[in-house]
């Protein structure tokens, strides 16, 4: 289980769990974002090996009712995507911070450090993130 206080967040409702040893950030969307979207039925993720740039759209998350864009929270190379969530997008709703992770990106620690902490993110979403 991810410790929600130890990970970072963006204003675009991604979460980022950085492992300093490997330099790899695991990225997903928050449960707040998943609730806002409704039932997620499709995720489109960049292929492993793709270079993504912080702030740019790098994927899509579709629910029955709407389409959300996935923004890269950090700049770096995609090293892995979650094939399980591609096959079963409902994991984004049922376990947003766990099995519903989307991709892993090799990133700079300083870029992750600059993201929002949980308190700052919660203040954006009214506190129920």
């Amino acid at each position: 289980m991810t410790d929600l206080d130890s990970i970072k967040y963006t204003a675009e409702h991604e979460w980022v769990d950085f492992d300093p040893a490997s330099g790899v950030a695991t990225i997903g969307i928050t449960d707040y974002a998943a609730d806002q979207l409704g039932d997620v039925v499709y995720v489109d993720l960049p292929a492993a090996g793709t270079a993504v740039t912080a702030g740019d759209v790098c994927g899509e998350i579709e629910s029955t009712k709407s389409v959300g864009e996935l923004y890269a929270p950090v700049t770096g190379e995609v090293v892995e995507i979650n094939d399980t969530v591609v096959d079963d997008p409902s994991l984004v709703n049922s376990d947003a911070f766990g099995a519903g992770w989307l991709m892993k990106v090799r990133a700079e620690a300083s870029a992750v450090d600059a993201l929002l902490d949980r308190a700052a993110y919660q203040s954006l979403t009214g506190g129920d993130a």
């Binding site: 039925v41 499709y42 389409v67």
Partner: protein, 390 residues
């Protein structure tokens, strides 16, 4: 009052005076954890837990919908039948008492002001159910058209709540609701697009009339129950309590939209509008062209079928669904536009309604939907996408 539904105290309105409006069932929805969305000027439950779970519940058991945002307009008077024959597209004079009909309110140029369900309440009285977002336009058009007729057009939306029970177990659920008594006929005898009468026994011992119509917007069997606004909460609670053991869940507008889309039913503002003629939307059958005169008749008689786009169903493989506004392509050309689309929860593949040229509307025609830059192959298919097993 022909309906007998309306609350005796006209000062008792069903909504908060604030805008956008909530229905009288707001506290029930909030207690059930609903998220709300603005729809037609009303804050309506979009989902309670999961749109997909609510959708599947309606297909396999039943869902409970608050549709009190819909407008109810009474038409009463000696000329009621003759007036509606003039004011709407279908022949309302042909309806038996307690029979309902789906019909269109056209403007003089033949465009669609709204789509309606009209119930005949008596020889000289009808109840018109209009879309929430078109309430003012429908009331205004009917009132304006009533000038030369002996009728009263009366907007009673604020007095009447409407609750739908939809799904294969709907009849069992209504029958299991002990507070619904004195049914005018066994529900098994109540046919599609007919309504029955009953009483609702309120907690304080009073009994009030309700109407149960075998109608709906989901493609399943089901009922729409009309009750005075002040007792809607009690009816909601009674249905939910009786229905929960049978699989009934509260269901929001998200599920309602995917359900109606699978059933190939149009939604105003998507498949219907002032710039869309009935035949374009596949609703030519709802226009009784042989009536003496009705608003829109002259314009529709002069229309040449021509190249005006027509509504078709499109099916695709995979999971990427076209959405309203996405271009439809044929080869390199943009030939049309999606009006509604979703990944069908029941069928498991994308479905869409789209307007395309008649030459590309034949079943089996291979088109594509431009899904944010990617052309997703889509095949024209017969509607509805989903038909329930009888």
């Amino acid at each position: 009052m022909p309906s007998g539904i309306r609350h005796p105290n006209p000062g008792e309105l069903m909504t908060d005076p604030t805008s956008p409006r909530h229905t009288v069932l707001r506290d029930r929805h909030e207690a059930l954890g609903a998220s709300f969305t603005d729809f037609g000027g009303w804050l309506m439950p979009v989902r309670y837990t999961s749109d997909l779970a609510e959708h599947h519940a309606v297909r396999t058991a039943a869902g409970l919908f608050d549709i009190s945002h819909m407008a109810e307009i009474e038409v009463r008077g000696a000329d009621a039948a003759r007036f509606l024959d003039y004011a709407v597209s279908g022949r309302m004079s042909a309806l038996a008492v307690d029979q309902a009909k789906y019909t269109l309110l056209l403007d003089p140029s033949g465009g669609i002001v709204d789509d309606l369900i009209v119930y005949r309440a008596a020889d000289d009285a009808y109840l018109v159910v209009a879309n929430a977002g078109n309430r003012d336009a429908a009331v205004a058009a009917l009132t304006e058209r009533a000038r030369d007729f002996d009728v009263v057009v009366d907007d009673c939306t604020d007095h009447i709540a409407l609750i739908a029970v939809q799904g294969p177990r709907s009849q069992e659920i209504v029958e299991a609701t002990a507070q619904i008594t004195a049914l005018s006929q066994p529900l098994s005898d109540l046919r599609y697009y007919r309504r029955g009468h009953a009483e609702f026994a309120a907690a304080d011992g009073t009994r009030v009339p309700i109407h149960l119509a075998r109608t709906g917007y989901t493609g399943e069997d089901g009922f729409e129950l009309f009750i005075r606004a002040s007792l809607a909460g009690e009816l909601w609670d009674a249905l939910l309590a009786a229905g929960e053991p049978l699989g009934l869940v509260p269901a929001g507008l998200a599920a309602r939209d995917t359900l109606r889309l699978e059933a190939g039913m149009p939604l105003y503002g998507h498949e219907l509008g002032l710039d869309i003629l009935p035949a374009q939307a596949g609703l030519g059958r709802t226009v009784a062209v042989d009536k003496d005169d009705f608003v829109g008749k002259a314009a529709l008689e002069t229309v040449v079928a021509g190249d005006a786009p027509v509504l078709v169903g499109l099916v695709s493989e995979g999971r990427r669904a076209g959405r309203a506004g996405y271009p439809v392509r044929h080869g390199d050309q943009t030939v049309g536009e999606v009006s509604s689309g979703a990944l069908s929860p029941t069928l498991g593949h994308p479905i869409a309604l789209a307007f395309v040229p008649p030459a590309l509307a034949a079943e089996g025609t291979e088109l594509a939907i431009d899904v944010r830059g990617t052309a997703i192959p889509a095949t024209v298919t017969a509607l509805p996408f989903y038909r329930r097993k009888k």
